[in-house]
Assembly symmetry: D2
Homo-oligomer: 385 residues x 4
């Protein structure tokens, strides 16, 4: 039986793609070597810089975010290099595993998944590395598995305090274009991101932004690379072209997305996400449930991860809620599998869509007989009106 | 400044068009005289019959609903003919004016805009017409200006009780495909409808269904007609063609719409609208506001018209709510202008969209300082969960 | 079995709709009474004036071109009025029948379907009408059934020469936006047009442009009208609105179409059609076939009607060509049924599409064993290169 | 100034994307971990197998074809491994450079770019490798830079004749779904392909098909890999999921493409391409120009590369032709830069589109004053009619 009305895709990415972008990606493909393509390519590369807030190089891959993680590492490091990573959650853990798979030695500062990366612990760890053997510090900006945000500028300061020369790499796959992000001002060397979150595109594109220091590291980095190699990209990118066939139609979408973000105003976009995060947490607390992020000031505007009451399966709740209210919620991952569900409130989203989302959760809790205090939606509305 | 997220188009039509239909209407136009067109045309004509629940002729016009009103009259009546109409609200009044403009003598049973047509008063009126000079009884099924539903089967019975031979004409422009409707079983002679309500299409198509008795009347009806003339349509329609260029792309959409309705099941579609109407009224009553329809059992599942508290402008409230929450509500028309606003809950719609809609109204009331009891959204959720 | 590649829709309208317009019409429908609609409506009305080359009123109907024919007559004439029409072909004949159906007395200057309207004969006819009983002169600009163009400015001059006060009405349904047309400069009182030809839209919209003299006639015209009544439109149109629900999504397409025409430049559009008409005729003549339009200087840039050699069925040829080369050609109508086929070369069209079209005809002639000289395509290419 | 009509994208890929596929990729993105996704993923994986003609594993990457080249190598080989490659043209050369960049020792059998790979020379080369140090033989099926086709089954036989255990890898990026290809029957171990050629999709997806022998090699292959690793894919793929976020919207398009290919019938698709290649070559020869592929029976049905007469710049000709006739032709690459232009006749293409394409070339030759015999288009039409 057909379900009427719009599905609510409230996982923390892919976010629902707005019509303007769907329309843009359905334009006819053009010759990626022809004269008209230069406009598309240059607009994409330059537009992306305004979102990363960088004047340095950005790179666009036809790939998922996982590919851009790999690109960040293979472009700058050599086999056996030590890298420092921080366990903010599932995605930080995956990135660490990827580093190891590539032959790097990853040192993992353990975390409890209830907050962002801790600058003090990073500083302390680096301070002990007198020989500067650690070549990179890798931090997840918005940890999609927990809804916690790492203080990137403070981590930069920690590295500086330790007078450590390591490259600073940040994954803001799910943070970019939802939370403020400043590649240049925050002194990040390599930023990793993707298309299907704040940028509101379908999945299929991912990005690196690279500082001059990172570009220099690329020249000596010995990890094998070809598809991901920045060195091959720089030349063609200057005139808006790519060394291999780009995902032209997704670039159309990217250009539309950047226009849309600036039409709203980046600061307005960030404020909107922050406001929706606050309203979502108000609802969660009203229900008597616990927000996974336990660190004040680090709660995400992108998603809210919610702890399921003991004795209740988060996945059973999600399945029931999907069936009854046609809303997709994010699942708990690895350590918190079945114990947490995640509410995405990112991308092309507004107040009424948030109320609908929270109503889906509240009615879903009722339908699944999960104990909760009714009225969370109304509590959120108090904050929105 | 761009507004993020989806606009909520909650006027009682046009309803928001689902992606499947937008995609269908954006297919390439074909030769409306070529062999492939027959499939499109026959599917549209036959599909529409399943929605009108008729085995008689249906006619498709490239026109608005107003055109189909005119078609119903000019195809069956002659200058100076008397027609009996019932003042259910603004649209019944417009239809009456149209009849008069065409040279018919319209007799209008006055109503208070707070319920559907009254079969008893119709029967009484007809009973007095011993000479059977009244040639048609015209009733609006779902009065879009008030949210009241006329009991069509009961009106048929009233006509029969009066043993009156008048044609029975029904406007279900905003009722079809949202409320149960049975052209054949209810003995309607001419049904009028349109594309942009329960059928979920953009505006641009309108319809007549005609009984054998109506087709017979067409042969002698003296009102001048050409564009609207059924007689020109019948022949070409038999093989799926039209006497003049049809609105091919909207027909693509119509065929998709009929498929979608049957995939959901018409009875499920009707139950959904009824359930959403009940939940909307629960919210309105919780707010302490009054539903315009005051006749129990005649409240519409398509829309809910709400009386504004004295001293408050419904239009100012609507403008403010549109600005702050990006939701379009329907305005009060003529007699109830600025005194009523209308909440559309029709078409491709679901529980979470209804909650969002009601939240838009409730937050809008707060923002516009209209006195109300908070918690209407929660009251609606009680009914939905 | 699926046919690969693009179908060639080379009937003289609907013309193939360009992607930009299909994309425009698939945007979400909005509230036609809301503040955002005014921009859409005003852009449509004002944009259309630049295409009609008028500063007078234009009217947009959700209707086919047949409806706009009817609108022109019912808005300005009274039952029994005499109208002078010229038999340029099938569509002129249909318009005459429509006039008669509406109760007008149509006088038809007979033509041989091989040229446009003859100003001298019109002048002579009017000169005899000393009492000025003829209320309107109706001429088809581009006769879609024959591919002949009437000299509109010369007809105006003929009316003036006869010092006759009749309204001058012109059908340029298939001429507008392909051939130069000047409503104001040429002194036309009512112009009739439609969406699916030079305007490159799907069918579903049609238009009137009306001079001050026509608007004055509207006040006294006694033909019954409601849907078509200009008087109802003028007020709402001033601010971009319509008296009844407009075909919003087709208006999106209209606005895109007008932008596209101006991006190319109207004069370039006209020159392109003229050039393609000349190349098509060169091919036809090379094949040894005869162009239906036999009047030098009146051959259309919109379509070329071709006479079939005796003993060969044009319809059999068209069916065979459609099957083998996936190209739709126009059929001969009424008097020339099965004796003529029509090649449309209008709308969003270019040199290579024209070559493909002519190749479809030439290969089709060969496949259907119709005697012809090969090399017509090459002859056309000579003119294009 | 806007150019009217359709652009002809006649490079040998990306090919013009048909509307059905553009419409498919513009559907809303869904949760790639949710229950509905399984249907999309399984259909894509299983559908692709019918195109590769394999019952073994296929892998889908959000990546360009270059990525799938890399995947083939890193999944099966170890640093320092010797691989035998055949210089069919530019793309074979690029693949060789990629192999070297990854740390493999590539042995390159030189070719003159005027035919496919020579099985005899491969057999001879392998026969000398007594120690079986060569781990893979890599051949390009359809060399996109030259328009020559390698005899894949014969190469397989050559390897078998040499009793050599090397893996057999084939790049059919531009051959798949245009030319017959049989992964299983031809005993290929790894097939590499992409989305934007015969599959008619926009660029952004690429593929591997892997034999059991290749899967076994994966277990011991020491080249570093993560994004490309088959081992991570196999498990999730079984139920239709992917280890990282897939390019969901392109998968929608892939599913549509596979349906379209089967609706036409693969054998019909292949015959169509062969027929169009033959007609294109007839035109080239008529013009008095030379087809780059000089090996009878190895000319491609996908594209025709044409040698420019001495003293004329192919790139200047292409630029002029693009400007005047709005057709994109492929450029000559590396060794044949500016000396060759390439005519793509692949993907969703038909007879009339081919004639238009050839007319674009012929009129372009004339416009650019390139000496040629007129009438090539007519010569092609002789073969098509």
């Amino acid at each position: 039986m057909r379900k009427a009305g719009r599905h609510f895709l409230q996982i923390p990415g892919p976010s629902a793609v707005p019509d303007r972008i769907l329309s843009a990606i359905s334009q006819q493909t053009i010759d990626h070597r022809g004269p008209d393509f230069a406009k598309v390519g240059l607009k994409a590369l330059n537009g992306l810089k305004t979102i990363f807030k960088t004047e340095e190089n950005v790179f666009i891959y036809p790939a998922s975010g996982t590919g851009a993680w790999e690109a960040a590492l293979v472009n700058t490091l050599s086999p056996g290099d030590r890298v420092l990573m921080f366990e903010t959650g599932h995605f930080a853990t995956l990135w660490k595993k990827l580093a190891e798979k590539l032959g790097l030695k990853a040192e993992f500062i353990e975390g409890d998944w209830r907050g962002g990366a801790d600058p003090d612990r990073i500083e302390a760890h680096l301070a002990e590395d007198k020989g500067h053997e650690i070549k990179a510090v890798c931090v997840v900006h918005n940890e999609t598995s927990t809804g916690s945000v790492s203080p990137i500028a403070a981590v930069r300061k920690a590295i500086d305090n330790a007078k450590h020369p390591a490259l600073f790499m940040v994954d803001t796959i799910s943070g970019l274009a939802s939370l403020d992000y400043q590649h240049d001002a925050w002194g990040v060397d390599v930023t990793v991101s993707g298309s299907q979150k704040g940028l509101m595109l379908p999945p299929g594109l991912s990005f690196n932004a690279a500082s001059a220091k990172a570009m220099a590291a690329n020249k000596t980095a010995a990890l094998q690379r070809s598809y991901w190699d920045w060195a091959e990209m720089v030349g063609p990118n200057k005139t808006g072209y790519f060394p291999y066939t780009p995902a032209t139609n997704l670039l159309y979408g990217l250009n539309e997305a950047v226009d849309m973000l600036h039409e709203e105003g980046l600061d307005n976009v960030f404020a909107r996400h922050a406001r929706h995060g606050a309203a979502a947490r108000a609802a969660v607390r009203h229900w008597g449930l616990e927000v996974l992020c336990a660190t004040q000031g680090q709660e995400s505007g992108v998603l809210t991860a919610v702890k399921m009451p003991d004795g209740h399966s988060a996945d059973a709740f999600r399945a029931s809620t999907l069936e009854h209210y046609d809303i997709s919620l994010g699942n708990g991952l690895s350590k918190v599998a079945d114990k947490v569900f995640r509410i995405g409130h990112l991308g092309d989203f507004n107040d009424l869509m948030l109320v609908a989302t929270l109503a889906g959760v509240e009615m879903g809790l009722k339908k699944a007989d999960v104990p909760h205090e009714e009225g969370g939606v109304q509590a959120a509305m108090q904050m929105l009106a």
